[in-house]
Symmetry: C3
Subunit: 211 residues, 3 copies
């Protein structure tokens, strides 16, 4: 049962992230097949790092269905992108947020199954949630979203904290997932919609920021 | 027999990629020892990722000869670069293409030996072929070649498809290698020479591309 | 005894690197929680890569104390940064150099314990010493320090050579550590103070360097 939930979440997660990668590639006008590379790296990066860190078989090698889901989502995005009413940032932010929330949960769960404590598990969730998007932004030469637009990693962290709280109350598995998922999504999309932002510290003197 | 071929391909592959990395470092005027770092990362990055993904001992730790080949190629490039008639992009593109074609084959083979199916193996070949050059470009703050100049990953993919086709026909091992190698090289260098390019999709409205 | 030294070095190393990461995040005015991400990646990146390469359990998953040390150093930096007399590059360069020297030693030692030869061990030391700072610079879109300001990787290399020399003389463990540590620190900070730099090759013709 748990394994089936996990698989469905994973297949959805890679598909959402693959679409987010393809949309950014389209937006950045990346040459030909490079779009497929960006989308694949985005979709598989976070989960691959998680499996390497936990020294488990890499998920898309052990279960090639994840690879097919990725390639299918990329091909569908390429095929249908011209029929979308208006290709803008909106789709990108939505699929990126959903992918992040799903991967966050998968990172926490795989760490817990592996016997890690909750601090390590939440760290693994944030890592899994943000890493694919981080390398996507790095290879596309964007300022990484995680550096630029908070809550992002902190939305993962909050989703992880909700998971941990519900888990420690012995709530049924599905509610841990749903609670974490909607917390992350709500914080992430809410921040974009209502302009929330998280400030930890701010420089006293604003010098010119040349990049 | 197979293991010997594999070793020779590998030693050549790392040497070619080390030269490509050193040439880019020279071109970008990278400070001192940083050139050695760039060249080493380029030479060892793709194969290291492959071994980590397949959960095999990392090749240059298990077999330090790969490390000596890398360092030797870097030192030779540094020593002889001033005697080259004209240091330009040509050498770089050539050694980069050869390195990519060799690593593509090694990625496919190591995945097949590991028992992976053909879709995973071809994905592993492309990953191994492009990853060293990708991190080289990222740390040198270049637009990654794979994003900018296609066919590149698609030349790996085509080389992998030729390997898979010959392999499924039970052709002798050496022909799989040669067929794949020359397909990749031909597509990559042909595209540079004759200006082929692969367009998957193109934006309808060209907005300003600020980077 | 050795294991205790190792643990203390490690806890110090991650704390120094976490501070360096948080300072760079502050300097670059990174949004909110992104500072924690940068600091964590800087602190844990090098050691994580080392453990993955050597196929050992990742240190902060096996021993969560490293994670607590990282988070503690980040929180302390965020809390006290406003009371520092003047936040400038000086603190950053100092903690970065100390972190690098400590990680260099830990990389060498873990490779030697793993049975690797000295060439592989020194390579592992340089990798462990520079990798955290390298990905920190990449995700902050800085020119990586290792490309820009030598001696850096070469200071690690020299520290590694001193370690190897003392080790081969059967000198007591603590002197290997101290000799390596002060060699790296002296070369790195000396180069910054007295303006030493290492030139391996220089382009004959300075063309326009567009980045």
């Amino acid at each position: 049962m748990t394994a089936e939930y996990f698989m469905v979440l994973g297949l959805l997660g890679v598909a959402f992230f693959a679409v987010a990668g393809a949309l950014l590639g389209y937006e950045k006008n990346i040459s030909g097949f490079g779009v497929v590379v960006v989308a694949t790296v985005t979709a598989l990066g976070g989960g691959t790092l998680r499996d390497i860190l936990l020294n488990k078989p890499v998920f898309w090698i052990a279960t090639p269905q994840y690879l097919y889901s990725t390639y299918g989502a990329v091909i569908a995005t390429i095929a249908f992108i011209r029929y979308l009413p208006r290709v803008n940032n909106y789709y990108f932010l939505l699929v990126d947020a959903v992918g992040m929330a799903l991967f966050n949960i998968m990172g926490i769960e795989k760490a817990l199954i592996n016997g890690s404590g909750m601090v390590v598990a939440i760290t693994m969730g944030v890592t899994t949630g943000i890493f694919g998007g981080l390398i996507r932004d790095v290879i596309c030469r964007e300022v990484p979203t995680v550096m630029r637009s908070e809550p992002y990693a902190s939305a993962c962290l909050a989703g992880g904290a909700v998971y941990a709280a519900l888990f420690s109350l012995n709530v049924d598995y599905i509610w841990c997932i749903l609670g974490s998922f909607f917390t992350t999504i709500f914080l992430r999309l809410g921040s974009l919609h209502w302009g929330w932002h998280l400030t930890i510290f701010r420089k006293k003197d604003f010098r010119d920021q040349s990049d």
